[in-house]
C-alpha cells in the first residue's frame, strides 16, 4: 500500500535503486499534481561558482584551486612559484585554514596580495567565501588567482569554487595508494602535483605504482613531479602556468 495516499501499489515509496524499474509510482488522484523541480542540491554554491567563473573570464584571470591533505606542500609550492614568476605575472592568493593567518603571512612575504579565510569549524572553502575574498582583493586583469583550499582530501571535492583548474597535490610521504583511498578528489581534479621528490632517496616509495593508481582513478590527470623545497622539477609546472595564462 502506498504510504502517501493509501492507494494499492506494488512499489515501495521510500528508498529505491533505479535501473530498469522506476522508483516513482503513478497516483491517479486528480487533486495531486507533481511539479518537476530538477534542482541541484548544491545549486547555491554552484551558482556562485559560475559567477566567480564569469568574473575570472571577464578579467582574463587564471584561477586555480589547490587541494591536498594537510602538509602536502601547498603553501611552499605557492611561495616558490610566486618567487620565480612574480616578475611576469601578478599573483593574488586566497588562503583557507580553520584557524590562524600563518599561511597568509608566508605568502605576504613573497609580495603577493593575499586574503586569509578562516573557516572555523568548516572543512572546506566554498564559492561564497571565495566571492567575498575576491571583493576585498580586487585582483587586476590578467592576474593569477591561487586559491589554497583547506587541507582536506574529502570535502573540497564537492565544492566548485569557479576555478579554471583544480590542482591536487600529494607528497611522496603519503603513500602510493592515496588516490585509491580518496578517489573523489583525484577524479575531480585536472592536474596532480607529486611533491617532495627530494625525499625519495630516504623512502621506499614506488613512484610507478603511484602513477598507475593516478591513471586508474582519473586517466585525464596531467601529472608534475617536483620538489617545491629544492626546485627540482619545478620548471614544467611554471611553464604550464605561463602557458595557461597566455592562452586565456
Amino acid at each position: 500500500m502506498c504510504d502517501t495516499c493509501g492507494c494499492g501499489s506494488e512499489h515501495e515509496a521510500t528508498i529505491g535503486k533505479s535501473g530498469e524499474q522506476t522508483h516513482h509510482h503513478p497516483h491517479d488522484h486528480p487533486h495531486q499534481h507533481v511539479v518537476e523541480v530538477n534542482k541541484n542540491l548544491l545549486h547555491d554554491n554552484d551558482l556562485m561558482a559560475e559567477r566567480n567563473r564569469g568574473y575570472f573570464e571577464a578579467k582574463n584571470i587564471l584561477a586555480l584551486n589547490l587541494v591536498s591533505s594537510p602538509g602536502a606542500g601547498k603553501t611552499t609550492l605557492l611561495e616558490k612559484t610566486i618567487a620565480v614568476l612574480k616578475k611576469e605575472l601578478r599573483f593574488y592568493v586566497i588562503a583557507g585554514d580553520q584557524q590562524t593567518s600563518n599561511d597568509a603571512n608566508r605568502i605576504h612575504q613573497t609580495g603577493a596580495q593575499v586574503m586569509q579565510v578562516n573557516t572555523g569549524m568548516g572543512c572546506h572553502l566554498d564559492a561564497d567565501m571565495v566571492h567575498k575574498a575576491l571583493k576585498k582583493l580586487n585582483p587586476s586583469d590578467q592576474a593569477m588567482v591561487m586559491i589554497e583550499n583547506v587541507g582536506n582530501l574529502v570535502c573540497p571535492a564537492l565544492f566548485d569554487l569557479g576555478e579554471a583548474h583544480r590542482i591536487v597535490i600529494i607528497s611522496v610521504t603519503e603513500g602510493e595508494d592515496k588516490p585509491l583511498k580518496y578517489p573523489h578528489m583525484f577524479a575531480s581534479s585536472h592536474i596532480c602535483i607529486i611533491n617532495k621528490t627530494d625525499l625519495l632517496p630516504h623512502l621506499s616509495f614506488n613512484m610507478d605504482q603511484l602513477r598507475e593508481n593516478l591513471k586508474q582513478v582519473n586517466h585525464h590527470l596531467e601529472v608534475f613531479e617536483l620538489s617545491a623545497q629544492t626546485g627540482e622539477g619545478l620548471k614544467p609546472w611554471l611553464d604550464w602556468l605561463e602557458y595557461q595564462q597566455a592562452a586565456l
Binding site: 504510504d3 502517501t4 495516499c5 515509496a13 521510500t14 528508498i15 529505491g16 535503486k17 533505479s18 535501473g19 522508483h23 516513482h24 497516483h27 487533486h31 495531486q32 499534481h33 507533481v34 511539479v35 518537476e36 523541480v37 530538477n38 534542482k39 541541484n40 542540491l41 548544491l42 545549486h43 547555491d44 574529502v154 570535502c155 571535492a157 564537492l158 585509491l180 578517489p183 573523489h184 577524479a187 591513471k215 586508474q216 582513478v217 586517466h219
Partner: protein, 113 residues
C-alpha cells in the same frame, strides 16, 4: 559528506517551491542521489529527520532514489557498471573509463496535494 548541509538545502528548495505554489500541501518529494555523489543515504535520512522536525514538512514523504554508477570505456565504448571509482572494463580490460552516470544530486520533483 555534509549531509546536514544537503538536508538544509532540500528544505530550502521545498520551501521555495511551496511558497510559489499558492495552494496545496507538500505531500512527497523525490530526491535523486547518484552512487558516486559521496552522499551516505542513512546519514542523509537522519539529517532530514533532524532538519524537518518542527517544520511544516515534518510528515512529508521524502523519497531518496539512488542512481547506479555507469562509465563508458574510452577504448571499446562499452558501458560498464561501476562498483567503485576504480573499475576495469570487463570487455577489453582497460582502466580508461569516463563516468557517464552516478554523480547526480538533485531534487527531482515535489508532489502537491
Amino acid at each position: 559528506m555534509h549531509e546536514l548541509t544537503l538536508a538544509n538545502n532540500i528544505l530550502r528548495i521545498i520551501t521555495e517551491h511551496a511558497t510559489k505554489q499558492k495552494e496545496g500541501c507538500v505531500q512527497e518529494v523525490e530526491v535523486v542521489i547518484g552512487e558516486l555523489s559521496g552522499v551516505i543515504i542513512e546519514a542523509l535520512k537522519a539529517a532530514l529527520q533532524a532538519v524537518l522536525r518542527d517544520t511544516s514538512y515534518e510528515h512529508t514523504q521524502i523519497n531518496l532514489t539512488t542512481i547506479k554508477a555507469l562509465a563508458k570505456c574510452t577504448y571499446c565504448h562499452s558501458e560498464v557498471n561501476m562498483d567503485t571509482f576504480i573499475t576495469i572494463c570487463p570487455k577489453c580490460q582497460h582502466t580508461h573509463l569516463t563516468i557517464i552516470q552516478g554523480k547526480e544530486l538533485y531534487v527531482k520533483s515535489i508532489t502537491f496535494d
